[in-house]
């Protein structure tokens, strides 16, 4: 009886320990990755020829692991003029970007690289496929350790009532990038 009970207890404890180790390991890995993920934006540049609808962000990786990104927000201050979120929704869970888990349909159903007008996030049509608006796509964009890589975002053509416009010379534009492990960097520059 003691052996049976002991064996059962042993198995249970062993399972619980393994379960705890998995969760602790995942949590710790997230923390360590967060600490090792570092990047800065040293430069922005715009497309000055018509249509002036492109912004290129140069990212430098001063961290200890390859940088990947899940969100890039391009906006003005105040945000009412422009607030565009380029993001990547994974087909697996947990989603890489919090925007992918928002309850508003149809965004939860969208997989891949997207761009959304955050000023009209609840308006149907104020989002678009961003595969042709990102170069390279956010999903495939990586910055190696010690490297500088550019990513270009093109302003989308959205439905009526959503964002429309282009970059204006003399105006300040902000870019906020969210790394896959949670680090965020904001940079702004006048066109």
């Amino acid at each position: 009886m003691t052996l049976v009970a002991g064996g059962a207890l042993f198995g249970y404890v062993n399972g619980q320990a393994a379960n705890s180790e998995n969760k602790l390991g995942a949590s710790n890995a997230a923390n360590v990755n967060f600490l090792n993920e570092r990047f800065v934006v040293p430069q922005l540049t715009f497309k000055y020829t018509s249509p002036m609808n492109q912004i290129t962000v140069y990212l430098y990786n001063n961290g200890q692991l390859t940088d990947s990104f899940v969100e890039a927000e391009v906006y003005t201050v105040p945000r009412s003029t422009m607030d565009l979120l380029y993001y990547y929704c994974s087909s697996t869970t947990p989603q890489t970007s919090t925007i992918c888990t928002l309850p508003q349909a149809p965004f939860t159903q969208l997989i891949g690289n997207r761009v959304m007008d955050l000023n009209n996030r609840n308006t149907n049509g104020c989002y678009a496929d961003a595969n042709t608006l990102e170069s390279p796509t956010l999903q495939n964009f990586q910055v190696p350790i010690g490297g500088i890589s550019p990513i270009t975002f093109t302003l989308p053509s959205l439905a009526a009532g959503c964002f429309s416009g282009s970059f204006a010379v003399g105006a300040f534009y902000y870019v906020q990038l969210l790394g896959q492990y949670g680090n965020s960097v904001t940079y702004f520059q006048a066109m």
Binding site: N14, A17, V32
Partner: protein
């Protein structure tokens, strides 16, 4: 009949259940527990290591401080060059360079980006130790013909730690705050300099020699009627081959109400011995030497306005220049002092050479930490300080006024 009691048939059993349970617990402790402990310990070690590395990285990032000096030159004499001086506490590595002309064109070395690719010489990355200035770096960006300096180019370097440092070409005028330490509101000594009035002129010399003493043949073009240079931002290229004139506004604010007489220096002599001059103490650069370019006191024209194209040496030089004492009105403690500024003119005794202000061929522009050395005598009033030396008498006087000027070439 033999009856065998029940106790007789029972075998004796030891109470081992507790022992087995304890054994199982110990086994669990030393297998699962130890494994778990080691796992947690390893994870904690990794986390601590990452945390320490991040903290160190942030700390080191703060300690980085690089100063960029931009200039013009290169093989064709038309490239934007720059040097980097490490003024921080750690060695730094320059990973990338961005040059922007503020009109939409970005020059960089990042392949595959929309910038105009340039070749940096020497090849990036390279390090800069603490306190060291790099040799001249060629950005590979050519200055277009007709470039007037506005809008300026912006040179940005990115370090391995992720910091960015920028500088403009041409370099901006030295901030006014740099000169505030010796402003007329807080004079160091009895002579106050009005830092709002500090002009530089290019002296055109068609013939003759303006030195020892200046004689006719040289003129100050557009003197006080045209726009002079700011003394804080001297365009060397226009001055090169000509003589340079600096105009200061000095006021004698001696509370003892004594005259101060500035003594002109001997042309060619070195300050501060018995001379009044301006000294551009150019910073050492790339192993170059620190040098000075003395400007000897001269009074070309002591009329604040209307000098026009004044014959250089028409009424000069005076043997000395008196900064008159303040005049007092009223009675203490309601006494009011009225002090009158005097314009004082300094001119170079030699033509501005192409390598000015360096003794070697180091190019400009530079932000030069300069000193105006004033020397002469104080006379009358209370005599020398401190008493009880007999008064009146003439006492030696000396004062240095620090300021900063950006020397650049258009």
């Amino acid at each position: 009949m033999v009856k065998i009691g029940a106790r007789g048939t029972q075998r004796k059993r030891r109470a081992v259940a507790g022992l087995v349970a304890a054994l199982i617990l110990f086994v669990m402790l030393f297998t699962v527990g130890t494994g778990y402990f080691l796992w947690v310990n390893t994870n904690n070690g990794l986390y601590s290591q990452a945390l320490a590395a991040r903290a160190a990285a942030v700390q080191n990032q703060v300690l980085e401080n690089l100063q960029i000096i931009t200039e013009r030159g290169g093989a064709g004499g038309n490239d934007i060059l720059f040097t980097v001086t490490n003024q921080g506490g750690l060695a730094a590595i320059i990973m990338s360079v961005f040059v922007s002309d503020n009109a939409g064109t970005l020059y960089c070395t990042v392949a595959g980006s929309p910038c105009t690719l340039v070749t940096i010489t020497p090849v990036l990355p390279f390090g800069v130790s603490q306190g060291i200035t790099t040799s001249t770096i060629d950005s590979g960006v050519s200055i277009p013909a007709g470039f007037t300096g506005t809008p300026p180019f912006t040179v940005k370097i990115v370090t391995q730690r992720g910091n960015s440092f920028t500088q403009q070409y041409p370099m901006p005028v030295a901030p006014f705050a740099v000169n505030a330490g010796s402003s007329n509101s807080a004079p160091i000594g009895f002579i106050s300099m009005n830092f709002n009035y500090f002009k530089a002129y290019s002296v055109v010399c068609t013939s003759g020699d303006p030195s020892s003493p200046p004689v006719g043949g040289c003129t100050v073009t557009g003197f006080d009627t045209a726009s002079p240079f700011s003394g804080y931002s001297v365009t060397k290229s226009i001055l090169t081959g000509n003589y340079m004139l600096l105009v200061l506004s000095l006021t004698n604010v001696d509370p003892n109400l004594r005259d101060i007489v500035l003594s002109p220096g001997t042309p060619g002599s070195v300050s501060p011995s018995g001379t009044v001059d301006v000294q551009f103490a150019a910073p050492s650069k790339g192993g170059g030497t620190t040098s000075a370019a003395p400007f000897i006191l001269g009074a070309v024209c002591n009329v604040p306005a209307g000098c026009g194209s004044y014959p250089y040496g028409h009424t000069m030089p005076p043997a000395s220049l008196t900064l008159p004492r303040c005049t007092a009105s009223g009675t203490p403690p309601n006494q009011i002092l009225t002090c009158t500024p005097t314009l004082v003119y300094f001119y170079t005794t030699t033509k501005v050479a192409a390598n000015f202000p360096f003794s070697n061929a180091n190019p400009v522009p530079v932000v030069a930490s300069n000193l105006i050395y004033l020397s002469g005598t104080v006379s009358a009033g209370g005599g020398c300080v401190p008493p009880p030396l007999p008064a009146p008498q003439t006492c030696p006087y000396g004062q240095s006024i620090p300021f900063a000027t950006t020397l650049w070439s258009a």
